[in-house]
């Protein structure tokens, strides 16, 4: 059947025999792609009287939007915070490898580092599609620094632009900043960052609930790896965890929270409590470190050494966890298994929710018509079999 060329000469691909994640359900529908975007086949039929040029049989598998990882420190030997060598190449290398885990967009994360590292990384123009940076630190709490090196922690002198620019250089490429709101003068910084469209995340913090709520009122909308590097939930002061059910969130706003669902950083029961309390805000993150994808042994993270043992990564010589080496697809499977949630919910926690968090759900994280055709083909065990970016297959098992 000839394809009508009235609107575009570009070839149209129709993925058939698949279940696609649409309107929060897996539906037996075909997926149509043209020029790197999801195409509306009804419009194609009636407006253009067009057809598909190629049909791809997906063998009854699942098609989901590509995963989005908003917290990943590196992998496969690359450490984003090290900033040695060719930064662009490092990011590109990791970007390529994590396609195997179904991740089609991510935020390279920089842990607490000296200003010159920030300036150096920021000066590099990352031309890859939709990859902006997550700055985790240095405005965090000393007691809750986790694996972050203490000598590079900073406080706000006056808050506001001056402190941020002095530390980070510029903020053009930045998607998220993690900070501790109990630090003096943080309010101005939070307002400044969120005013620029940067997601402010609360983490590595000793804040109590009212400090956290104030931060949310100033514009914070994310919690970095919930439960980790913050005060534990207490029934008379729930701390940052209390944001999940707080009644002082401004109307129309939602607080999202990152969860490292690797089975190590969060006990399954805690994961379930968070999920049940606030399912719509759950964002799966890997917080993967340099060693992800590498064999066991000693590796570097930021300005420190870490030690890999099996699926655990510790700050060398301690029992402090130093980020995870789980992959995003493992996190999705683990989350589904321990929470008993639906397949759709598990997939959305890694795609739709991070896209909503970053304010890009009109382009990414969904299979709605007109969005970018970044998607993955999975089997019923939620193992990634193929990955597509802009409608092109970029990896297959």
């Amino acid at each position: 059947m000839p394809s009508n060329k009235s609107v575009s000469d570009a070839p149209i691909t129709q993925f058939v025999s698949c279940r696609i994640l649409k309107d929060h359900r897996l539906q037996w529908e075909d997926l149509w792609v043209r020029e790197g975007k999801i195409l509306n086949p009804e419009k194609l039929f009636f407006d253009e009287e067009g057809f598909a040029d190629h049909k791809v049989d997906c063998g009854n598998k699942i098609i989901a939007p590509g995963f989005i990882d908003v917290q990943i420190n590196g992998g496969y030997g690359i450490d984003f915070s090290q900033a040695s060598g060719d930064i662009r190449r490092g990011v590109a290398q990791v970007a390529k490898k994590i396609l195997e885990h179904g991740v089609t967009s991510f935020c390279p994360t920089l842990v607490t580092s000296p200003p010159d590292i920030y300036h150096k990384v920021q000066s590099v123009h990352l031309s890859l599609p939709f990859i902006s940076i997550h700055l985790e630190g240095p405005f965090i709490s000393e007691q809750k620094r986790g694996a972050h090196p203490p000598k590079f922690l900073r406080t706000f002198k006056a808050g506001g632009v001056a402190d941020l620019m002095e530390t980070y250089g510029h903020l053009d490429n930045v998607a998220l900043v993690t900070l501790a709101p109990e630090l003096a003068n943080s309010a101005a910084a939070i307002r400044e960052l969120s005013g620029r469209g940067i997601v402010v995340s609360l983490g590595h913090s000793m804040a109590d609930l009212s400090q956290a709520e104030e931060a949310v009122q100033n514009g914070a909308i994310f919690i970095t790896h919930l439960f980790n590097a913050m005060l534990p939930f207490h029934h008379r002061d729930p701390g940052i965890v209390g944001l999940l059910t707080s009644d002082r969130i401004p109307p129309g706003r939602m607080v999202y929270y990152g969860m490292i669902a690797d089975g190590i950083h969060t006990h399954p029961a805690a994961l379930r409590i968070a999920h049940r309390a606030h399912p719509a805000g759950l964002v799966l993150v890997t917080d993967a470190v340099t060693a992800m994808g590498l064999p066991p042994g000693q590796h570097s993270l930021g300005q420190q050494q870490i030690d890999i043992q099996g699926l655990h990564a510790y700050v060398a010589g301690t029992t402090t966890l130093s980020g995870s080496i789980a992959t995003m697809d493992m996190c999705v499977r683990h989350f589904r298994e321990v929470s008993g949630c639906t397949v759709e919910a598990a997939l959305e926690a890694a795609s739709l929710h991070p896209a909503q968090l970053l304010g890009v759900s009109n382009r990414k994280g969904t299979l709605e018509f007109g969005t970018d055709a970044d998607f993955i083909v999975l089997d019923d065990t939620l193992t990634v079999r193929e990955t597509y970016i802009a409608g092109q297959q970029v990896w297959r098992k």
């Binding site: 509306n40 009804e42 057809f51």
Partner: protein, 288 residues
């Protein structure tokens, strides 16, 4: 007229779908000789469409050389509105089969000149060689397409204002908000459907029973526009048991082919008695 009565909705849908399939297959359509099919919307034909899709997926039926003409479309409703008949046809039929988009014809309720759109539709039907088989449904008020009670029985494709009953009936598709229901449609006329070489009407459910009764047991009447097909040379009414609830038992038995000779003979004698009584009443005797 042929009245085909099946036990339930699913069997009626299947019978109708098989009939359509067989007609197309036996016609042997080609690129030079398309099979033209008129199609309805609404809840009644959904089962039939599902079966047709099944036959297509089994490889028994291709729509490559079939041209379709839908009966109607709302005026002023965006084409991609989930309740538009374009959406209905795409979701329930077209997207599952191998029909070519340029061979489908649905009236455009957003055309700038609605009269011209209707005239063009009539011309498209003529250009396609007329409709081979027009499949339709019936409204509870006996309407075919949107030819509401009072529509001319020789009408052509035109703009129609909907009856209050129809608007209320449609409200369930628009969140029960009467203000959101379209009030005008473009519809083929009764005359347009009468021009088809064959007409098949699907009627299922008890709520359609009275309309079926009016359509086939009473006279041709513009208040029950489906009754016009009493004057079409080749019509089939396909229904389920529930739709026959207002018909005479005699009618149903006749069409089910279940009238036995015993009944026929008792009919004969009872008819004689009636005539005798009539004659007695009028002081006429022929048996003297």
């Amino acid at each position: 007229m042929r009245l085909v009565i099946l036990d339930d909705y699913d069997l009626a849908s299947e019978w109708a779908a098989k009939y359509i399939r067989n007609r197309i297959v036996q016609f042997k359509p080609t690129a030079d000789r398309y099979f033209t099919l008129g199609l309805p919307t609404g809840s009644t034909p959904l089962g039939c469409y599902r079966k047709l899709i099944e036959y297509h997926k089994n490889g028994d039926l291709s729509f490559k050389y079939v041209k379709t003409f839908n009966m109607d479309e709302y005026v002023g409703l965006p084409r991609d509105h989930p309740e538009s008949y374009h959406s209905y046809m795409w979701n329930n039929f077209f997207k599952h089969i191998d029909i070519e988009p340029q061979n489908t014809h649905i009236l455009d309720g957003n055309a700038s000149d609605l009269q011209a759109e209707c005239a063009a539709f009539e011309q498209q039907i003529t250009a396609a060689g007329g409709i081979e088989l027009f499949v339709g449904g019936i409204g509870p008020d006996g309407h075919i397409a949107f030819n509401e009670p009072g529509s001319s029985l020789v009408s052509r494709t035109r703009v129609k204002t909907l009856a209050k009953d129809t608007i209320v009936a449609n409200a369930r598709f628009f969140g029960n908000d009467l203000s959101k229901v379209p009030t005008m449609t473009l519809t083929v006329g009764v005359g347009t459907v009468m021009d088809a070489r064959e007409v098949m009407i699907l009627i299922t459910g008890a709520h359609k029973a009275f309309a079926l009764y009016k359509a086939i047991e009473e006279g041709v009447n513009h208040m029950w526009t489906v009754s016009a097909f009493q004057q079409h040379p080749r019509t089939i009414f396909v229904c389920d048991e529930d739709a026959t609830l207002e018909l005479r038992v005699k009618t149903v038995k006749y069409f089910k082919g279940t009238i036995s000779t015993k009944i026929l003979s008792s009919n004969f004698f009872s008819t004689l008695i009636i005539i005798k009584n009539m004659l007695l009443e009028h002081q006429i005797s022929i048996f003297e």
